[in-house]
Symmetry: C2
């Protein structure tokens, strides 16, 4: 399944020895179909990892034959040598697959500021190419894990065509994407313009609204490859909706596996004057450390929601704000509302609704609670 659910794709996931513990750390996804159309969305962080700089470049002609992904090292902040390493990785994959290097995207994830062990990575590419399979999607999804506790895949099948994908990401989830690496594939027959449009529309309301810890990665990459193998060209709207569904599903899986989290928090902003206002308020709530601690403590501390809303430039009047936590309107008209003891917070999912009473627009941001486990996991990561 995963990236090989759609026809016209093979994939592999192997252990190249990049990770010292011997776990799988190299994935290869190859488009074997008649089409090689592709689109990509990348981190908006201005400090971009070498593989991001490379992949942005090679995607300019809307064509990809393969994607090499490694865990065990981000190849970010590694200077000219890091970029040469990415280039060499693409060249190696191009050689063994018989394609051009500019048809090969590269994705990396792991610690920043460390050069990749090319003596292991390059033989790994050859090894991965040797184990490519139409059933390799699952292994590829496993090989891109870092601190992920589970691998993430999703598939939507429509009338004769399919969109599938894999994702990794557990820390640094944030707007403008996350350290998420995502590869989506489809056997629908579409050109790169249609892919690009559908992918941007989908990420804008899914991955871009997953904000686990407010920290934007140097390596975020979401790729969509089309093989045309199904011989079907779906209506754009139907295709875009299938891409959105897969992105939404994968985004939810990222949130549920976020580092150290014990709660998944859905922040729904309603009655905003504009969608931008709704997103700004949602992010401000989602990034408030004090609120995230309160949710961890199962404390429906709505005052921290209001204080987060108050830091934004969105249109609202303080004395018209309403806040519900798990269905109980604990804040009405900017003041005390229903009894906060009625709020049941025992379950993993917490639903916060912030009513700005300023219009008709809405947006939903997903985040996690802030826990001692998050601190522990991220205190020790590079040690």
């Amino acid at each position: 399944m995963s990236v090989t659910a759609a026809k016209g794709f093979t994939a592999a996931g192997i252990a190249a020895g990049i990770k010292e513990n011997g776990n799988p750390d190299l994935a290869l996804v190859v488009n074997t179909g008649p089409r090689r159309a592709a689109a990509g969305v990348f981190t908006s962080n201005r400090v971009k990892a070498a593989p991001v700089l490379w992949s942005e470049q090679v995607l300019k002609d809307g064509r990809l034959s393969a994607v090499v992904l490694n865990s065990g090292g981000a190849n970010a902040c590694t200077g000219p040598k890091g970029f040469q390493d990415t280039h060499a990785t693409a060249e190696k994959a191009a050689d063994v697959l018989g394609v051009g290097a500019i048809e090969v995207a590269v994705c990396s994830t792991g610690l920043i500021g460390v050069l990749l062990p090319m003596d292991k990575l390059l033989p790994g590419v050859e090894k991965a190419a040797g184990s490519l399979s139409e059933h390799g999607g699952e292994k590829a999804a496993i090989a891109i894990k870092t601190t992920d506790t589970v691998h993430k895949t999703s598939v939507v099948t429509k009338d004769g065509w399919t969109v599938g994908g894999m994702a990794k990401g557990a820390g640094m989830l944030a707007p403008g994407l996350a350290t998420m690496l995502v590869v989506l594939t489809t056997d629908a027959d579409l050109d790169s313009d249609a892919l690009d449009k559908a992918l941007r529309a989908a990420t804008r309301t899914t991955f871009d609204r997953v904000d686990s810890d407010g920290c934007m990665s140097t390596n975020d990459t979401v790729l969509l490859l089309a093989s045309g193998s199904a011989g079907v060209t779906p209506q754009y709207e139907e295709f875009a909706e299938a891409v959105r569904q897969v992105c939404d599903d994968l985004g939810q899986q990222l949130i549920r596996d976020a580092e150290g989290a014990s709660k998944d928090i859905k922040v729904e902003v309603i009655n905003a004057a504009t969608e931008d206002d709704a997103v700004e308020v949602g992010r401000s709530i989602a990034r408030n450390n004090l609120l995230k601690c309160a949710i961890h403590g199962e404390d429906p501390n709505w005052g921290r929601v209001l204080s987060a809303i108050g830091t934004t430039a969105a249109a609202f009047e303080p004395d018209r704000l309403n806040v519900a936590i798990n269905g109980v309107w604990v804040c009405k008209n900017g003041g005390v509302g229903e009894d906060r003891d009625k709020v049941d917070m025992r379950f993993r999912e917490v639903h916060i609704v912030a009513d700005l009473a300023a219009g008709a627009e809405t947006a939903t941001i997903w985040t996690n609670d802030l826990t001692a486990d998050y601190v522990h996991e991220n205190s020790a990561y590079s040690s």
Copy 2:
């Protein structure tokens, strides 16, 4: 000392019963000097507590005779009743002191969204007025503590005149101020315009650059009162510098007592194109949860510094960035620099220098690490 170090002030701190544990929770500061000049700086949060709305109003004529401060309840998000309670508090103080209510500022700190127990607060104001003393500054500083582990005071004495003050604040420290309540006093003979100018200049580079956890309070207030009792009018520059020193000292005390923190982090941004760029980059670094966790783990993870810089709009080229941690330039020209194992992080203070190589401006932001203790303290606060 504290607010009574300057001549022409009395103060008191008592237990009014607002806090259920019986600790001191009400402070009163009274200007007895010939002058009653005053200035104030307040939270830029748009959700403002009732005492902030009140105090902003009464300060419009640049004149204050007294300040009532309570801990044990923020009186924020409490609607019209909350504002009436603040008004009644000022009226009560005005009555017992024989001044007008519009000469009385009110400050509150504690949980948001809960009405104050006025049946305890109003008798408390009377009790505090009965124990006013020229030596009451210390007790006043103790009575405004919430989760503070120590009370904070500072005094600068110059040639015949003095600036002194007290502060509370340990959580919610952030830009646009913090939940910090600060009262400064001086016996220098200055009008409210000079006070206002000196106070704004001082807070801009001190309290405004203390950003413990990125969360802006609904209640932040910094007041400066002048009694004129010294009969001396200092040069403005000298006075402004004394105010800055007291603010700087109190700001440092806030950082050192931040909730759950084990490290005080000085983020110094150098060679920025503009001071605004330097502040934006400093804040972005100071608010990066992943970096704050790494510092907690004594891990000189400079990649997280770069990834935080990359989210800003400041002028810089990624491949010209340099980062030092505790004096070791671990990142040079956007890549790996000196050996990170040389970085000694055993001590409480950590010094991060981010060199943008884009100009000549600089700014320093102070923050803390992110710890399991922070999570624990803020998970349980309102329970």
